[in-house]
Symmetry: C2
Subunit: 439 residues, 2 copies
């Protein structure tokens, strides 16, 4: 039995959090691979170390004195080292970083990566685990894509050579050995590769929440926790709503079917959300309700006699040329719409409209920029005929106007477009009607 | 006041029908332009003259004796001429056609067009109206598309030069004067151009039904007649369901907002369906229920990391290259479907799948070939919030599984995919629940 445990910044903010981590790791012998983030906030007014490191680099870039800022970072690590009464040689580590800064040879990526590096140094000494640098495990190509084959090989070897180990999250190395970062939040993804490469039985992602909720706690008071969910459902939920984990976390786990568990470092006894390949929860009708505001729908009326498919293709090609991702393409007989996230089109909006107006296949273009998309997710919906109808009838009861519906083959998920102003009310109505329903 | 009246083949099948036509035309002085089809069936075992003419041409082509077949056609026209006791010189007309056949100089299009030509000759003498040949009014370019400018000019002149006139439907001429046909049923379109070119106040389309019904009378016993409908709604209804009028009929009328009335030659007193630019019926929630069986949905799961828009484009381009029209593109997060009429893909199915399987963006393709599409049409639906939900909840009540839903911006129409086996049951359930509902 092997568990890979990743601890996020909030689980590493001070001495107390480090102690909680040690208790968690020590309570289960199979927790032999630990991935850590940089130090997080100790309270709501505090800073994340990663943010401070980015800011330090900006100081270097504009040649503004960074010493006070860098001292804040240094003090946080040294304080924890002192409080935990361990010898992690952090003074020496900071000396090396400062020397590189002084030489002007440190890249932004390398400087920022030191947050995770120093966390891992501290944690490895504190746990008595081996330290293994992420630069020797996670291999990127020069485009910044993970070289999965090399990465899994290195991880597999490290897992064989070390009984237990701590590895920094968030980074790896280019083929020339220089540091390369994942996108923000990427320590989750580091953990996924560690789990895959070491053939772990489970990947535990320890954070400051006890898993996922059926709906946004900002909209629903005390929403029900999702105890078990499938990869696919999670991806659908996180695609449209707030992310607890990095979007790319699931991909490496899927191939080997490694379950991912989201757990709370402050309340391990609460349990969390278990994410598996197959839908594990066979009881609840719907798994979650999510969504996002701020979409726009452009509706195209095709010209007399124009071919519908060709009209759609010519419109989609304009969006492709402008590199605008599109979400939905509701089609009617002589018209079709394209639904886009507003923030992704705003900057180029007038240029795109000008291009679209040139298309000979299109007669008119109309616009509705007040669209929120809601997704009701649940693999069990397909088992209960009529679920779509019942979900949609809630909108009628609440007098909420539906702007668009997209439901693909079978009732696996249903996406509903409404006015932004109706968003919270819709989530509340759906939650009230369906959160407790069993199949 | 000017009315253009088009009479279909069923209104021209024998002496009795000609008399009904005369009564209708004579009862209203504004009915000054009459468009006629070829003779239709006198009973269910009879033949349409147009079918017999096509068959005659096949005899010529394969050099098989056609004389008996042609005699049947000739006798039908001569019998009506005799029964009506008029002198339309049809013997001479048939002589000219037979001479051309003997010379081998008659084209298929010209031979087939003689059905309408002879009907118009007979009708013009019987009504005492001028005969004007369609070849001099409806002008096609060499691609078989109507040259609208020339056509409307010729019609406008003819309407000015003749107090009243009869014109054959279904055909016109190429720039070189040779006969060119509309697609089957195209006499409806001839009438539309006559109405537009003559600036008619209304275009009456006389046939054997008293207009359109809310649902197919083969599925619903005595469905409610649609008394008034907008062009757009009619197009939506006829696109998906059985056609009473030729699909292209509406287009010429739209620009000038000329209303079209579908009336019954056998029961003019019943009234019919009036089709106008704006939705005229402000009382009923839904205008009609229609649909078609025999669709297939192909669902594409995009490859890890592939761009959704690029994946959709690459798939749609394959369909474009094979000239396959597509109906809907339901989109989810990592997958999307393409819905196609089965009959339009069947022949090339395996070639298309082979091409689609080559696409690097696509991981898997799955297929559901048991889809019927239902459309609920009605411009008034948008005025009553919650209509979509109520419509869809009917499927739940009836335990009918919904395979897909496509509803574009606002609740103008909603398209629902179900199993073919559930089609009639669905239409019946929707009709029962909504046919009588007022807004």
């Amino acid at each position: 039995m092997l568990k890979v445990c990743k601890f996020g910044g909030s689980s590493l903010s001070d001495e107390e959090e480090f102690k909680k981590v040690k208790n968690i790791v020590r309570s289960d012998d199979s927790r032999r691979i630990v991935v850590v983030s940089a130090l997080g906030k100790r309270n709501s007014k505090d800073y994340k170390v990663t943010d401070l490191l980015y800011l330090t680099y900006q100081h270097l870039k504009y040649k503004v004195d960074y010493s006070e800022l860098f001292m804040q970072i240094k003090n946080r690590y040294l304080q924890i080292e002192k409080d935990l009464q361990i010898q992690a040689d952090l003074e020496k580590e900071f000396g090396q970083i400062e020397a590189k800064i002084a030489e002007g040879t440190i890249s932004e990526e390398e400087l920022v990566s030191r947050g995770e590096y120093l966390s891992a140094k501290l944690m490895s000494v504190y746990l008595g685990f081996d330290f293994v640098d992420a630069g020797s495990l996670i291999h990127f190509d020069y485009d910044g894509k993970v070289d999965e084959k090399e990465t899994l090989k290195s991880i597999s070897e490290a897992a064989a050579n070390h009984h237990n180990l701590v590895v920094p999250g968030f980074y790896g190395s280019y083929p020339n050995g220089k540091i390369c970062l994942f996108s923000r939040g990427g320590s989750d993804v580091s953990g996924s590769y560690m789990a895959k490469g070491s053939h772990a039985d489970v990947y535990e992602n320890w954070t400051d929440v006890s898993g996922f909720y059926m709906a946004d706690p900002k909209i629903i008071e005390n929403p029900r926790r999702i105890k078990e969910i499938s990869y696919a459902e999670l991806r659908e939920l996180s695609y449209m709503g707030a992310n607890v984990i990095h979007e790319e976390t699931i991909l490496p786990l899927q191939d080997e079917g490694i379950p991912l568990e989201i757990l709370n470092t402050d309340h391990p006894e609460e349990g969390g959300t278990l994410i598996k390949k197959e839908t594990p929860d066979k009881t609840h009708l719907i798994t979650g309700i999510t969504g996002k505001k701020g979409f726009i729908a452009l509706t195209f009326l095709k010209a007399k006699g124009a071919d519908k498919l060709e009209s759609i293709l010519s419109v989609l090609n304009v969006f492709k040329n402008f590199e605008i991702p599109i979400e939905h393409i509701p089609t009617s007989i002589d018209s079709f719409s394209v639904v886009i996230e507003k923030s992704k089109i705003e900057e180029k909006f007038y240029d795109i409209i000008a291009e679209l107006k040139k298309l000979p296949d299109i007669l008119t273009i109309s616009e509705d920029d007040d669209i929120a998309l809601l997704a009701v997710v649940g693999r069990n919906m397909v088992k209960k005929t009529g679920t779509s109808g019942r979900i949609l009838s809630v909108f009628g009861q609440e007098k909420i106007n539906i702007k668009l519906i997209d439901q693909g083959r079978e009732e696996i998920n249903i996406i509903i477009g409404i006015s932004n102003a109706d968003f919270n009310k819709s989530v509340q109505a759906l939650y009230q009607n369906f959160s407790g329903e069993k199949i």
